[in-house]
């Protein structure tokens, strides 16, 4: 059983999604997207979309290199919102249409 992912109190309503979507790397987020159903992706999108700007503003209160753990977790949830926005807003399926033969692996990225 993995440790509970804590979010800032003001965003506790996202707690049901935190374990699945607060992920450190794009590779992990891509894996979660590709292994989700459209219902799951839509549910997460619907839960976070109205609060994305608020969540970004919350994270903006801290310097990137000294963010409290709960804010980093929230930032990772915003990244996951971005990666699920493509299936939800455009593709209507988890993967990009007509791309089954390929991948494009993110091997490095700035953190958090």
């Amino acid at each position: 059983m993995s440790a509970t992912v804590t979010l800032p109190a003001a965003f506790s309503f996202l707690q049901p999604y935190a374990q699945r979507w607060s992920l450190e790397t794009e590779r992990a987020r891509w894996g979660a997207r590709m292994s989700s159903s459209m219902e799951d992706l839509q549910a997460y999108y619907d839960a976070i979309f109205p609060h994305v700007e608020e969540a970004i503003a919350y994270c903006d209160k801290f310097p990137l290199d000294a963010m409290p753990e709960d804010a980093v977790n929230l930032l990772r949830m915003i990244y996951s919102f971005i990666i699920v926005s493509f299936p939800v807003e455009l593709w209507h399926q988890p993967g990009v249409p007509d791309t089954a033969a390929t991948d494009f692996v993110r091997i490095s990225e700035p953190l958090p």
Partner: protein, 423 residues
């Protein structure tokens, strides 16, 4: 009806009369024999981009680069004197690959005082000199000075490191790149250190793959779906025209007009909701990075409004400079006649806060979505070409860089064969 003026000759292609306008053969992309010639004629003679100076800021910093097409690996290292040098990654005792971890073919990076061979323990300094041979007394008249690492010509331009695998390059890097590409010098590549790096192996010839990154004729069709439906329909109907093309020897540039990219000026219902809340999207963050005064050379032809300039460095590297204040690179490393390793890097100024980091994340995610569309389509193109059902394929004026690229490859191979005949 052209939306942008064409050169006096009537087309970009005819502006460069050496290109001709005839349909072209794609035999160069489906022939294993031709690929064997390319290894020698191109990849062992052209200047090849291998990385950035910021990857090795300090003495002893190094990375290796696998250049499978030339059947070698290169060590790029910063020496005690601050100079960047390149060496073949091969121990001079019995040929073992010198620097690697776990997988001999995998690229590595790190910091060291000396390179030590995993096989018999021979050691080399940062200048490539052999400094230690295990049980030296067992050898016969061994002079370590004769057994330094084999050096590779290495020069930098605008902080990009290039190597040349020929014994003696016929041109310096700057002469090779030519005035059009030298015109981007002064762009603050060195400050844009937030890098999102991607890699994949694709089942396509390296030129078939590169072709898709030299023209935007495909963009409304392959990538149109990344817009909201009304815009997708519009771009598909309009097709694509570039405001400006330029060739400089084997290198080329295409610019795009800014209007389609200025997403933030569009009515909200035309814009992806996630783009609105993250202030970013397919063409980068909406809040433009302040990069100070930029060299005029990044907008050749003076395109205004400007969207991006895509500089194609022969043979296998490209830099795309975007109006919103970021750039990305593409690199195409052949691994066989019909496979390649594709590398893409999205680069920005370091994010100052979470908002900026979120905008960069959106741009990097969008970059992956459209790169996947390209990569998969090009596997389909390779399969179609290998069916060998036709000998010639028509190229239009928006594909002028593709035409020049294949012609340049052919010219380099011809020249190599002529020189070989002369012996």
């Amino acid at each position: 009806m052209a939306r942008f003026p064409k050169p006096a000759e009537g087309s970009w292609t005819q502006h460069y009369p050496q290109l001709g306008t005839k349909p072209v053969s794609y035999e160069d992309s489906i022939s294993p024999e031709f690929f064997e010639l390319e290894r020698e004629a191109i990849f062992k003679r052209a200047w090849l981009h291998v990385g950035r100076v910021e990857q090795i800021p300090k003495t002893g910093n190094f990375f290796t680069k696998e250049i499978a097409v030339a059947r070698t690996s290169i060590i790029i290292v910063r020496g005690d004197d601050g100079e960047i040098r390149a060496f073949h990654n091969t121990c001079r005792h019995r040929g073992n690959r010198l620097v690697w971890n776990d997988l001999p073919q995998a690229e590595v990076s790190g910091t060291t005082r000396q390179f030590s061979c995993k096989y018999h323990g021979w050691r080399y300094g940062l200048d490539g000199a052999c400094v230690f041979a295990q049980q030296e007394g067992e050898f016969f008249d061994l002079d370590k000075a004769d057994y330094g690492l084999v050096s590779v010509h290495c020069e930098t331009f605008a902080g990009f490191i290039f190597v040349n695998l020929s014994r003696e390059p016929t041109q310096s890097l700057r002469d090779y790149l030519g005035p059009m590409i030298l015109g981007i010098e002064g762009y603050p590549f060195d400050k844009m250190t937030d890098h999102y790096t991607f890699q994949v192996e694709v089942g396509a010839n390296w030129k078939v793959f590169s072709d898709a990154f030299m023209e935007f004729y495909h963009a409304p069709i392959v990538h149109g779906g990344q817009h909201m439906p009304p815009i997708a329909a519009q771009v598909r109907k309009d097709g694509y025209e570039a405001p400006y093309y330029q060739l400089d020897g084997p290198h080329g540039v295409v610019t795009t007009a800014g209007s389609v990219h200025r997403v933030w000026e569009m009515p909200r219902e035309m814009v992806k909701p996630a783009d609105i809340v993250t202030h970013s999207g397919l063409f980068g963050p909406w809040d433009k990075s302040d990069l100070g005064e930029l060299p005029k050379g990044i907008t050749p032809g003076g395109t205004e409004p400007w969207g991006l300039s895509s500089f194609q460095f022969f043979p296998n590297f490209a830099i795309l400079i975007w109006e919103a204040g970021w750039y990305n690179t593409h690199q195409f490393w052949p691994t066989s006649y019909n496979t390649l390793k594709f590398e893409g890097i999205v680069c920005s100024l370091p994010a100052k806060n979470a908002s900026e980091r979120v905008g960069r994340e959106m741009a990097a995610v969008a970059f992956k979505e459209y790169s996947l569309q390209d990569a998969n389509t090009l596997e389909a193109t390779q399969l179609g070409l290998e069916a060998r059902v036709a000998d010639f394929w028509p190229l239009n004026d928006q594909e002028v860089l593709v035409r020049n690229f294949h012609q340049s490859v052919g010219d380099w191979v011809d020249e190599y064969q002529r020189e070989r005949m002369k012996g």
